[in-house]
């Protein structure tokens, strides 16, 4: 059962990764990175039970925090940095 959960998570990460690789807009990539982080948190939590040492759940918690902070940082630079808008426009031209 736990193994099945781990497999499902890896597969879902792979699907998110496709979005991260293909874009087409920068928002897709940011969302994908964030989603990837959330999946990693879940995978680590599941892996703890799989491995028989669920006490490592605190790593998953720390990841969740880092993921949150990193996303805030990305969005902050995206909104207020000097290059965010230009990045989106150019991305659309690519696609």
């Amino acid at each position: 059962m736990i193994a099945a959960a781990a497999v499902v998570l890896v597969v879902s990460m792979a699907m998110v990764l496709v979005r991260a690789l293909r874009g087409p807009t920068l928002y897709d990539r940011i969302l994908a990175a964030n989603h990837m982080g959330s999946s990693a948190v879940l995978l680590i939590a599941v892996y703890g039970f799989f491995d028989g040492r669920p006490e490592f759940l605190d790593i998953a918690l720390a990841y969740a925090l880092i993921n949150f902070i990193a996303t805030i940082a990305v969005l902050k630079y995206f909104a207020y940095g000097d290059l965010g808008a230009a990045g989106v426009r150019e991305e659309r031209n690519d696609a």
């Binding site: 491995d51 028989g52 040492r53 490592f56």
Partner: protein, 120 residues
């Protein structure tokens, strides 16, 4: 060697070559730093794979367990990660200063502007 034992190493080789290729080919300085990070991280994967012990768990002692992963590569890589981020920080601040001085982060452009003076 069976495939189940060597795919970690195969991935390490692929990552390392990709990283080094980016470092050598790209003239954009930020891209170079990114490549350098990919290159370094592949070495971390190599070391941590070395530390893995079949049937072992994380090297945090507990009464009911007796097989643990090798802690030594973990220790080394903790140090190497910090060294890596220190290098990255220094590299990026150099990039910011280069951009301020030359108005570009492309090595080619800088070399062109200096009139090919850089023989390197």
């Amino acid at each position: 060697m069976s495939l189940s034992g060597s795919y970690h190493y195969l991935a390490v080789v692929l990552l390392m070559v990709t990283g080094l290729y980016v470092v050598m080919v790209n003239t954009n300085l930020i891209k170079k730093v990114l490549g350098l990070n990919i290159f370094q991280t592949s070495v971390f994967v190599f070391y941590i794979s070395l530390g893995r012990l079949e049937g072992g768990t994380a090297p945090i002692l507990a009464d009911e367990l007796s097989r643990y992963a090798n802690p030594l590569p973990h220790v080394l890589i903790l140090t190497a990660i910090v060294v890596g981020v220190a290098t990255t920080a220094l590299a990026l601040s150099l990039v910011v200063q280069i951009h301020r001085a030359h108005g570009t982060m492309e090595e080619d452009d800088i070399d062109d502007r200096e009139g090919g003076a850089t023989i390197s």
